[in-house]
Subunit: 326 residues, 2 copies
């Protein structure tokens, strides 16, 4: 089993790599080769019996996609991309990386002719306000960001190239991934993770939106689970609609905080200071809140069933099981 | 008022050009310049007081889009494209013309910086089976052809570039245009027009699908009306969802034939021979049948209200008012 991961140095790419290193099987076959591509060097794990290659380069550069596809990977996890805020700030870069990079990769796979499984990380950013209370699987995608537009175009290419048999693609619309490890960043969504991660690390944090704000989350562990499941799912069963809205836990920010208190104690939540930020709230209000994710659930994609589980997953995976700094 | 039409030599392009020649005003302003672009030479009408230019070239070729946008047209009608059957048969050509051509045009307009109105002819081919009985405006676009995929990507780019203020775009999802003038062709949809056009010209024709087949039609005259209306519509009123499913007449093939009999007499319909073609029927069964087109109707887009009107429009516009050959 030869595996290629693009965007391997990103958060999801790192988590996927760790998972494959820990359990080096995919679709029931041992991993013989793992190629980790990104614009910066991904960290290479040791995998017994497997060749692990770290490849640094720009996916949208001339010949780069062909170079990556030359070993004819059986499964391609296409996670590479410029994030939402950057794609909005630098239109040319966003289109170059997120659209051209994706198209060049897909065309290189088509040219190679071996029709591998391609798992593409799309996003609920393909949806744009206004929304119904719960977005059904057949709701139209009308993004209101460059990033969402580029993901939507990637989805359309993936579905068409799959239909034509150039590869066997599955697109995953990921919900907000929470709890993101690392530092707070300038993304408007940063607080969803920060209100859990920072108090658990003994640090103060700010909640910039009302406690009633409703949002859908899945843990990094679930996101990796989606990717692994998508690698092995039967394309015929999925049918022609290859882009699936992943499940998650829909809850209010208040419920997030209650879950934190239940799991880690009521002292911890005192580190959250409520200080409404109108700019952040204006953005967050335009985000979709809930999804049926009916098809994805029927196809066996599984997320947490309570936000408590998401808090626990973070404590286990990032804090070695300790809710407070050691 | 400077106007650019891409795909000006195509059926809709010719009809739009005729209309602008007949009534050389757009959005209440006289047409001072009309640029007619296509891969073959469009026919140039005489317009008093206006410069009419016929430009032959490949929209996807280097520098072509910049050349077209240099005069800073106030309204761009982007109709150019490879048709469905050809885009499916020649994947590279379809993506080059329909995706790259559109993107290069949009990027050239962005670079010019004057933010004109752009009217883009999309298609109901953005929808892919299975469908509900009546497709609502918020139904997802999951095309099952390369053509539909390319149109969907054009729509996504149009909406994003409009959102960013690079231009002020309106995308029109056209239903099947009926009655198409000219000869029968190999398109699976050819018979929808042929069963009206051929008998009216005194020629036999074949109906390859059951009379119960339901489909939505608009006349070439209505299609031109949509384009003209889109040229003048207020973008703020349209809002961020810039791609609209145009209205039309939903009727069965049997109802089409009944309308023909009402308008042109029962002798004429005897020229239609029913001979089911399983290959054609298999394709047509996967096409969408009806649409609410609620937003488009609310925004003032008007189609025929009966198929009789579509038959009459064909007789008036193509047969000088005579239902039989002169």
């Amino acid at each position: 089993m030869k595996v290629l991961i693009t965007g391997a140095a990103g958060m999801i790419g790192r988590k996927l790599t760790e998972r494959l290193a820990h359990d080096p099987m995919l679709n029931g076959r041992p991993i013989a080769r793992l190629d980790l591509h990104d614009i910066v060097a991904a960290q290479a794990p040791e995998i017994a019996g497997a060749e692990v290659n770290v490849i640094v380069g720009d996916l949208a550069a001339d010949g780069e996609a062909e170079r990556l596809i030359k070993p004819k990977p059986d499964v391609v996890f296409h996670l590479a991309g410029v994030v939402s805020a950057e794609a909005e700030a630098d239109v040319d870069k966003g289109y170059r990386v997120n659209l051209d990079g994706t198209r060049l990769l897909f065309e290189a796979i088509r040219a190679a002719g071996h029709a591998p499984r391609v798992v593409f990380s799309s996003s609920i950013a393909v949806f744009g306000a206004p929304f119904p209370d719960i977005i059904p699987d057949d709701f139209h995608a009308t993004p209101r960001t460059c990033y969402g537009t580029q993901k939507l175009i990637g989805e359309a290419l993936l579905a068409d190239f799959s239909r034509r048999g150039f590869f066997d693609g599955i697109g995953l619309r990921l919900p907000t991934i929470c709890v993101r490890p690392g530092k707070p960043n300038k993304a408007a969504s940063s607080f969803f993770s920060a209100i859990i991660r920072e108090p658990l690390a003994g640090r103060e944090t700010v909640l910039p939106v009302p406690r009633s704000s409703l949002h859908t989350h899945a843990s990094p562990r679930s996101a990796v689970g989606f990717l692994i499941h998508a690698a092995g799912i039967d394309g015929e069963t999925v049918g022609p609609r290859r882009n699936l809205t992943m499940p998650g836990i829909a809850c209010t920010v208040g419920e997030q905080i209650e879950a934190l208190a239940r799991v880690a104690g009521s002292e911890v939540v005192k580190l959250i200071r409520e200080e409404e930020d109108e700019a952040v709230w204006a953005i967050v209000q335009n985000w979709p809140t809930r999804f049926t994710s009916q098809r994805a659930r029927e196809l066996g994609f599984v997320a947490e069933t309570s936000f408590d589980d998401i808090v626990r997953a973070h404590i286990e995976d990032e804090l070695s099981g300790n809710a407070r700094p050691a």
